[in-house]
Each structure stands twice: as structure tokens, then as C-alpha cells.
């Protein structure tokens, strides 16, 4: 207390106490709130009042006060001008249209749209941009089936990271696939008996190097390449595939419709092939030309092509 008396330069009396005391000598000062604190408090009050006027603040029945001098204009998704009260969503919309990065991305996309696929593929910078912008597009539109990275789901959704293409792996074919979608269809052959199915499966597996019963494979060859089965109309003579109609190449070790490599025994592998032959296969990839712009489709085609097996 004596120290306080000495330092109190206002020439006034010593600091008052509230009169409360504990333990004999513990007393409570009765100091005023510091001046700076008080002013800061008044400033917050003023700030709050200004805020009420400027920003949406008060609920009024079914609506609310919208503030003044706070409209924001942005370009909507359809290209139309929209003016609304200031909000962060509108700010985002405006930034997506007019922000420096949005403008730069648009310029790059226009270049992608104007360049040929060969020009893009020869330019590391444009490749990097296409991949970068298409990574997001792929995640939004393609990854649900083909998985992030394009690995696919064995037997269900094709693997886009290998070089085995059902509909062709050139830039143009990939673009066509994205743009128009695909309907993969293999007819069912319910008329085949168990022996025929077994022979056919033996032949098909022999194409990709599996060691099977040679007699059965020879009989299967007749069905495959002859009028009984007519498989070669789509799969090509010798099973080398027909990309124009989405018919898989059966001579390599990669399987698109059924996951043959994962079956541990030859009988199991044959069973998988037999099922496809007797039941057929139908798969559908939707069209994306209504959802994506031309430039986006081009970037996406470049991306898919670069996943690992583009031709």
C-alpha cells in the first residue's frame, strides 16, 4: 500500500478498498476499470451498431434485415449477371469468374481447346496443366467407377492405367468415349451345353497361355472361329480383339469382364469364362458431353491417355 501511495501521481488519495477483507489482511481494491479498457468497450459497441446497418443482422418475421451498401454482383453459372446482398458464397462465385487464377485457368483451357492433341502431348507445360486440371475433373466424374488414379475395379470397371483398351486408347477414341459414353454388349449363349462351354473356355484360356486340354481347346477353336459360336466376328480371328466395338483382346493376360487371374485353379478360371459365355455381358458408360465443356473433355482425354497406357 505504501508503494501505491508513493506511485499515485495524481495527487489524490490512495487506492480505495471495497472494505472486504479475508484472512485478516487480504483486501479487495476498488480500482476503476482501466481507461483504455473502457474505450475499447465503447468501440465494440460502436462497431456492433455499424455492423447491424451494414450486414444482414436481424431476423424480422420470415425475412431479415439485409444491410446497406453491401450488394455484390457476380456472373452466375448460366453467364447471367446477378446482384445480391454481400455474402461469401457470392464472393466465391465472383472470384471463380473474375479472380486472377480463374482468369488464368480459363486462358489455359482456351489454349487446350485450340491445340491439337499432338501439340499438347509435345508440350510439357500444357501436359502438366491438362493433367492438373483434369485430376479434379476425373475425381468428380470418373473416380466413382474407375477409382482415383484410374485403377478400375477388376471385372466391373475397366482399368484405365494399363494399356489394354476396349474401345481404343488413342486421344480421339478416348475423347469419343468420354463424350458419347459406351454400351458394351456381349450376347449370351444359353444354347451351349456344358461340354461346349467347357471346350470354349479351354480354347479361350489357351489364347493367353494357360495350359489346357489340347483336344478340348481344338473343339473350342471350332466353336470360336466357326459358325457355331461366331465369336471371331467381334473378338477377331484368334481372339485378338475388336476395339471398334469394345471387344476385348483375349490373347494377353489382362481381363476386363471377369477377374480370371485371381481364380486360383484352372477349373475356377474356366468357370468364370463359362459364365460370361452363357450369360453374356452388358456394361454401360454414361455420356459426359452434356456435363463437361469441350476444353474439359480434351483435358480429361489427355489425362486418361497419360495414366499409363495411351496409344
Amino acid at each position: 500500500m505504501s508503494e501505491t501511495n508513493k506511485r499515485n501521481e495524481h495527487g489524490k488519495r490512495a487506492v480505495q478498498t471495497t472494505g472486504h477483507s479475508w484472512d485478516g489482511d487480504l483486501q479487495e481494491y476498488n480500482n476503476p476499470i482501466p481507461r483504455w479498457w473502457l474505450w475499447a468497450f465503447y468501440a465494440t459497441v460502436v462497431f456492433a451498431v455499424v455492423y447491424w446497418f451494414l450486414y444482414p443482422a436481424w431476423p424480422v418475421g420470415g425475412t431479415y434485415t439485409k444491410g446497406v451498401m453491401n450488394t455484390i454482383t457476380y456472373t452466375g453459372p448460366g453467364g447471367e449477371e446477378r446482384t445480391t446482398h454481400w455474402n461469401t458464397r457470392a464472393l466465391l462465385m465472383r472470384d471463380m469468374q473474375e479472380g486472377t487464377h480463374a482468369v488464368r485457368q480459363r486462358e489455359y483451357l482456351e489454349r487446350v481447346a485450340a491445340m491439337s492433341y499432338n501439340e499438347i502431348a509435345d508440350d510439357p507445360d500444357m501436359m502438366a496443366f491438362s493433367r492438373s486440371v483434369a485430376r479434379g475433373l476425373f475425381a468428380d466424374n470418373c473416380a466413382a467407377c474407375h477409382q482415383v488414379g484410374g485403377g478400375g475395379v477388376p471385372g466391373v470397371y475397366p482399368n484405365l492405367a494399363d494399356d489394354d483398351w476396349l474401345w481404343g486408347g488413342t486421344f480421339e477414341r478416348i475423347e469419343e468415349t468420354i463424350r458419347e459414353g459406351r454400351r458394351g454388349f456381349m450376347p449370351a449363349f444359353p444354347q451351349f451345353n456344358a461340354r461346349q462351354l467347357d471346350d470354349l473356355a479351354s480354347y479361350v484360356l489357351s489364347l493367353s497361355g494357360h495350359s489346357v486340354d489340347a483336344d478340348a481347346a481344338a473343339r473350342g477353336d471350332d466353336i470360336f472361329n466357326g459358325p457355331t459360336g461366331g465369336c471371331m466376328y467381334c473378338h477377331g480371328e484368334g481372339g485378338t480383339g475388336g476395339p471398334a466395338q469394345g471387344a476385348p483382346n483375349l490373347t494377353n493376360g489382362l481381363w476386363q469382364i471377369v477377374d480370371v487371374p485371381s481364380a486360383p485353379t484352372l477349373e475356377g478360371k474356366k468357370a468364370l469364362v463359362k459364365r460370361v459365355v452363357s450369360e453374356g455381358a452388358q456394361r454401360h458408360m454414361p455420356t459426359f458431353q452434356d456435363r463437361l465443356s469441350d476444353a474439359e473433355i480434351r483435358a480429361l482425354a489427355v489425362y486418361v491417355h497419360s495414366l499409363g497406357g495411351g496409344q
Partner: protein, 477 residues
């Protein structure tokens, strides 16, 4: 002292002339010159903007004359901070709080603000009179002018800070015409406010109450550290200090009466920017600005007494013991400082002319191709950190029978400061591979350009063959 509600005792430092004051003006001029003019210095470099010092946050580049610091070099900043800390330890251990007294921007700006205050309101007695005087037009005018000038200096300080982060001429025009980014205005506003409040109002309270360095610098003191000290023995004598009075004019007269050399003029107290009396010994508020030394020396000269009643001294010197500056602590801090400076210098000098980062694409980790080979994909990010366009050839080594494909291009050309992201496909025949995981290296060689530093450099990576991994696992079980 009790709580913060005790009002600050206003301090009206008197001006002083002298050696240390001149030194302080010199340092102040240099610091202000560098700070205010540096953003305007143009610099011609091969890449990027032509501003000598520019911190380009959106472009993630710091331009310091010919040195371009990329985002991934930001650890240099850590090195710089370590050096600054060690330098502070080293210097403070020997010379005391010279940073506080001469170099700290709080000291420098407060000094300028005090100069303005004195320029407008006059010397210490005039300012005290003015403060006590009732409100009048003259008082209001003087105070307004003071604060206006303070605000202008604060605003110039704030605006200059902003200029380091953008092209100075165009940014200043943009700020004046209202077209600068809002961050610029917010920064100017806050730095103006803080400069005005800290240098104009808070002044020595920053050093006494707010500054953490003030506190931990005292920890580095020892009995050999230079401090601003008052020679009590000489100043007080046996009978204490006394004013110059008849019969107490000369040293002989004074010594005969047991009176010390201190004439108790109070000049050292009046010039002190933190308002302490150095004659009471070293205090936490003392920022070692040495203005009291100048003040006392002036008085000693005037009285015809020898200088040095207040001077740079040390605890040991004051007690008459020999001073030892070169001690293990000095060597320790000095060595650490040298190592840190050496390491940073080496790191900057040996910075790589280009940078590569390799990330394996793990979705999917590996795919089998139709010819039976296994393919792994890698994402390479290549950055040209030189000041000229360079072309790079990319290859792999250490992977038997492997094929590398990086799009259609065999070499990649990169402009200075640019980066490119490439996808590398690596294909290996699993029949030739021995292990499920095999280490190999990417090799990048600048084939032309790149400041003539064309040595190839390698980056380690791993190739996976999952089918072999399965085989290995089944062998184990």
C-alpha cells in the same frame, strides 16, 4: 508497484549532444535510409521482377538482389533467425544491451518521434509547461501538429513495409488510387496504428513491460558484460554528491570536504528516455542508449572535471577487478555463430541449380501391361532455379531392363524460375526382376543452359512388383 492502473509517469527526455548521440543519429540515418529506400532500388536480374528486394508471396519467391529464394528454401529463414539469436547472445554477453540502445526499431522510431515532439513543442521544460498548461488554441495546435507528424511518419513506415511485398512504384500508385489489394490497406492501417501507438504513446513502456528480449538479455549478462554504469566511489565521495556551490567548485575543494565529483545536476536523469536515474545502479529499464554518458561528459567538461563519471564499464571493472572478455562463453557463442553463418553461407552458395522431387503415384501402385510387363508411375516436379533457360534430360539408373517413358519429349526445356510436373512411366519385366521392391534412381542432367552447372544429379525411388511380393510372402509362411 501495484497494478497497471497506476498512471504512467510522463517522461520528457531532454536533448543531448555528444559522441553516443552522434553514433545513434548515424545508425538511425543508416537504418532509415535502408528501410525507406530499399524498396525503390531497381535491380536487373535474368528472371522475375526488377526490384532489388521483393517478397512475392503469391509467386512464392523472395528476391534478394541476385538471390532468388524459393518456397522450398524457406529453411534459410530459420538459419537467419538462428544467426540473429546467436549474434544477440554473443554481442549481449560482451557489450550488454547495445541492440536495445542503438539498433532496435522501437528505440529508433521512438527517437524520431521524440525529435518531432521536441521540434514542435520545444525542449523538456517547455514540454512540461505545455503539458501542465490549460487548454488553449496554441496548445491544441502544437499537440495536433505533433500527432499529425507522428501519424505521417507512422503511415510512411507502414506504406514502406507494404512496398516490399509488391512492385513498389505501381503498388504505391495503386494504393493512392484505391486499387491496391485490401491486404495492403489493412497492413498499412495496422502498422500505422501500431507505429503511432508504440513509438508515440507507449515508448519506454514497450522496453520495460512488453519486450521479451529486454528480459532475456539480462540473463546473458555476467560481471564482465559492458553496462552503462555510474562510478559511485568517484561521484559520491565520502559525503555524497553536491551541487557546484561556492567552496565546492574545484575537485580539490570538493575532495577536501569529502564530496564526490557528481554535481547532482540531474542532467543524466533528464536525458534518459526510460526515465531512470542511472546513479541508483543498473536497472531493468536501462536500454544502454548511453545518452546519460553524453550528458554527464558534457557536464564534466563544463566543470573541468575528467570525463567518465558515467561510462561503459562492467561490474568487475567497477569493483576494481580485472576484466576478462575472452572467456569460454564468448568462445562458445562465437563458435556457434561462426558455424551458423558458415552453414547458411554454404547452403546459399551451394544451392542447386535445379530441383527435382519424385513422388510415386500410388493409385494404382503398379499395373500389369498387356505384354506382361509391370508399370509404375511417378510424378516428377522439376524446377529451374537458375537465371537462364535450361534443357534437361531425364533418365533412370539401377533398374535392370527397365524402360522409361516421359510423354513424347526426350528433354524438357524450362525458363528461369519455372517448374513443370511430368509423369514418368517405368516398365519392368517381372521375370527379370529379383525383388518385389527395388531401389533405383532418376537421373536429371542439364544438357544446356543452367548457369553452366551441368552435373547430373540423382534421386532415389522405388519400383514395386506386387506379384513378386505375394510370392515372397507365401515363401515366408
Amino acid at each position: 508497484m501495484t497494478g497497471s492502473t497506476v498512471a504512467r509517469v510522463a517522461i520528457y527526455p531532454r536533448s543531448v549532444k555528444g559522441r553516443f548521440r552522434n553514433l545513434k543519429w548515424g545508425i538511425l540515418g543508416l537504418a532509415y535510409g535502408v528501410y525507406f529506400l530499399l524498396p525503390w532500388l531497381r535491380w536487373d536480374r535474368g528472371q522475375g521482377p526488377s526490384q532489388a528486394v521483393l517478397f512475392d508471396i503469391p509467386g512464392r519467391r523472395f528476391y534478394l538482389f541476385d538471390l532468388v529464394v524459393y518456397a522450398q528454401d524457406i529453411f534459410w529463414l530459420a538459419g537467419l533467425l538462428i544467426i540473429a539469436a546467436l549474434l544477440l547472445f554473443f554481442v549481449t554477453g560482451i557489450l550488454g544491451r547495445v541492440f536495445c540502445g542503438y539498433f532496435c526499431f522501437q528505440t529508433l522510431w521512438t527517437d524520431v518521434f521524440l525529435f518531432v515532439e521536441r521540434f514542435v513543442q520545444g525542449e523538456r521544460p517547455a514540454r512540461i509547461r505545455l503539458a501542465k498548461a490549460p487548454w488553449s488554441v496554441g496548445k491544441a495546435a502544437k499537440l495536433s501538429l505533433t500527432h499529425l507528424l507522428w501519424l505521417l511518419i507512422a503511415m510512411a513506415t507502414a506504406a514502406t513495409f507494404v512496398l516490399y511485398w509488391g512492385d513498389a512504384p505501381s503498388l504505391l500508385v495503386a494504393m493512392v488510387t484505391g486499387e491496391a489489394p485490401s491486404a495492403a490497406y489493412v497492413t498499412v492501417f495496422f502498422l500505422t496504428a501500431t507505429t503511432y501507438v508504440m513509438a508515440g504513446w507507449a515508448r519506454e513502456q514497450v522496453c520495460t513491460y512488453m519486450c521479451p528480449y529486454a528480459r532475456f538479455q539480462s540473463v546473458m549478462f555476467d560481471s564482465d558484460t559492458r553496462i552503462v554504469g555510474y562510478d559511485t566511489g568517484r561521484g559520491e565521495g565520502k559525503a555524497g554528491r553536491a551541487k557546484l556551490a561556492p567552496g565546492l567548485k574545484t575537485r580539490e575543494e570538493r575532495h577536501a570536504k569529502g564530496v564526490g565529483d557528481c554535481v547532482d545536476c540531474g542532467y543524466c536523469v533528464q536525458v534518459c528516455p526510460t526515465g531512470i536515474d542511472i546513479r541508483n545502479g543498473l536497472q531493468i529499464e536501462c536500454i544502454s542508449c548511453a545518452l546519460c554518458i553524453d550528458a554527464c561528459n558534457n557536464i564534466m567538461d563544463h566543470a573541468g572535471f575528467p570525463r567518465g563519471l558515467i561510462g561503459y564499464t562492467s561490474e568487475k571493472e567497477q569493483s576494481g577487478a580485472p576484466v576478462r572478455v575472452l572467456k569460454p562463453k564468448t568462445y562458445g557463442y562465437g563458435l556457434a555463430l561462426l558455424v551458423a553463418v558458415g552453414a547458411l553461407t554454404w547452403s546459399v552458395a551451394a544451392r542447386e541449380p535445379f530441383e527435382l522431387s519424385v513422388t510415386q503415384i500410388r493409385q494404382p501402385l503398379a499395373v500389369t501391361l498387356s505384354d506382361g510387363r509391370v508399370q509404375n508411375n511417378y510424378e516428377l516436379k522439376l524446377t529451374n532455379k537458375t537465371n537462364e533457360t535450361a534443357r534437361y534430360a531425364i533418365g533412370i539408373t539401377g533398374l535392370q531392363g527397365a524402360e522409361l517413358e516421359i510423354g513424347r519429349f526426350e528433354t524438357v526445356s524450362l525458363e528461369p524460375g519455372r517448374s513443370v510436373t511430368l509423369v514418368a512411366h517405368v516398365r519392368v519385366d517381372p521375370d527379370e526382376a529379383r525383388q518385389a521392391q527395388q531401389d533405383f534412381k532418376f537421373v536429371v542432367e542439364p544438357v544446356d543452359g543452367g548457369d553452366g552447372r551441368g552435373e547430373p544429379r540423382t534421386w532415389r525411388s522405388v519400383f514395386y512388383i506386387p506379384s513378386l511380393e505375394r510370392a515372397e510372402v507365401s515363401l515366408v509362411h
